[in-house]
């Protein structure tokens, strides 16, 4: 199967052909995949070199002139290095852009911590007005990329990962999907962690919600789910553990509830190796998830 990132250049190339507002800004990374479309639209496929502050600032300038910039590089260099550019050049100026990241939390473990960004969503969460898409499958990535570019001048973040579920679901760019229904609690699985969550909750009497758009957080669907089940919520996120705990608390502010936030640990693992090894080390494989969900929900969950 191809990866989400394999879809990025073909999808955005078609959008460049279809919509004269679309422009792509790159900082070397991913450039080769845009060479062909760059010949057709040399002024709308822009490579600024290895300059990430300029990457985001130039994207803002393009937006100032009415274009719809799609800005891409690895998450560490897109969100963390030029964070003030995201905050000021886009947010404070009242401008939008589509930021599309690759490498996610640990897509290239052998590359080490410099190329890992488990904190990207939490960092963006300090800013107002960002929509955050976390697709769990290349088909979903394609859908959500199109949604993001089509979203007028909104501020959109699309997080592409090599981690993926076996099959795509019909995501709509807004709502959580109800994948399984039960009574003992609600498990919210984000993006590529749906597969492990479904395996982990096999035979448990729990509702499983699937979230691929995590900001804004779909409080309506979560509330609805907790009306049919115990208001014990487990969040399983492919980035920093607990990133969406406050969103769950806000959604259930008037309901006595418990929430367990699972995800990537804060401590730097300082290991290379394989994605699967990192998934297991952070307790995000099906077996570890089962233990932790079981421990949180207790015997009630077992049918």
């Amino acid at each position: 199967m191809d990866t989400m990132r394999d879809r990025f250049a073909p999808v955005v190339s078609r959008l460049l052909d279809e919509d004269p507002r679309v422009a792509v800004v790159l900082a070397e990374i991913g450039m080769a995949d845009f060479e062909e479309v760059r010949r057709r639209h040399p002024d709308r496929v822009i490579n600024v070199g290895i300059r990430e502050q300029l990457l985001v600032g130039a994207g803002a300038g393009l937006a100032l002139t009415g274009l719809r910039p799609v800005v891409h590089t690895f998450a560490s260099f897109l969100v963390e290095r030029p964070f003030e550019q995201i905050k000021l050049d886009l947010g404070h100026q009242g401008l939008g852009a589509v930021l599309v990241s690759a490498a996610a939390s640990f897509d290239w473990p052998a590359g080490g911590y410099t190329h890992m960004s488990p904190g990207d969503v939490a960092v963006l969460d300090t800013l107002d007005g960002w929509t955050v898409h976390v697709p769990g499958h290349p088909d979903e990535a394609e859908t959500l990329l199109r949604h993001a570019v089509a979203a007028d001048d909104d501020k959109m973040y699309v997080r592409l990962s090599t981690q993926s579920n076996d099959r795509a679901l019909p995501v709509d760019g807004t709502r959580f999907l109800t994948v399984r229904e039960g009574r003992a609690g609600v498990v919210v699985a984000v993006g590529p962690l749906l597969g492990p969550v479904l395996a982990a909750t096999e035979g448990l009497d729990v509702t499983v919600l699937y979230a691929t758009t995590v900001r804004p957080f779909d409080a309506v669907t979560l509330r609805h789910a907790t009306e049919g089940a115990s208001p014990d919520v487990v969040l399983v996120e492919p980035y920093l553990a607990g990133t969406s705990v406050s969103a769950v608390n806000d959604a259930l502010v008037d309901v006595p509830h418990r929430v367990l936030g699972l995800g990537v640990g804060r401590r730097e693992l300082r290991r290379y190796g394989l994605v699967e090894e990192h998934v297991a080390a952070h307790g995000l494989d099906a077996r570890s998830l089962r233990e932790r969900i079981d421990g949180f929900l207790g015997v009630r969950a077992r049918v």
């Binding site: 004269p20 422009a23 800004v25 002024d43 709308r44 822009i46 600024v48 070199g49 300059r51 502050q53 300029l54 985001v56 600032g57 130039a58 994207g59 803002a60 300038g61 393009l62 937006a63 100032l64 002139t65 009415g66 274009l67 910039p69 003030e84 550019q85 000021l88 050049d89 404070h92 100026q93 009242g94």
Partner: protein, 243 residues
Amino acid sequence: MTTTTTEHRQEYGHGDRYDRYEALTGLMELMSGDEKHGPAATSTLDALWVLYDRVLRVGPDRADDPGRDRFLLSKGHGPMAYYAVLAAKGFVPVDWLPGFGSYDSPLGHHPDRVLVPGAEIGSGSLGHGLPIAVGTALGLRAQGLHDPRVWVLVGDAELDEGSNHEAIAYAGPAGLDRLHTVVIDNSSASWARPGGIAARFEAAGWSAATVDGRDHEALYAAFTAPHPGLPRVIVAQVEPKDS
């Protein structure tokens, strides 16, 4: 200028036009209540005036015109001269000026594009204007708008920010000849560039000129000199910050 504070007040009282250089000091006085203005506020005054009075094709009546020139004030601190020029040119009402910095005023100690008519960007954190200006030049070019020119004003110490170096290094080889940078050089950088500011830009493929930042004719000539195929920088030297 030798006009006294009292005379300025009387001029306003008699409804004189503000659209002239001589009115700017009085307009700034409305913000500070003080005849003396900080170096950061006045260092930009002459360059701003020459730009808005003679160079930029902008106006309150064409704020949304895609074909207008763009002026991006990157050096957002000490914006009194900027507000005074915007008031003189009719972008903002003169009666906004006395509220400068107050809770209900759109005019802060750093400008906000969302609040200030005519302000193309909000600024205050140094090093953001030039990269945004690069993107603006790219965006205009991508839409076939080859006529509008993009101007950005920075301070000499602001050039210390690495984001500016990214923009300078890119704009020259990219041939962004619609892009113009005005550097107000009041010798405020702690670690000045060996060889001077213009040399830094020239090494990156820019057309460069260094002029007396108080001399309106010299500024105008430098602002309007042709620079085919190259972005242009004008270093406007004014009295040192601490003088």
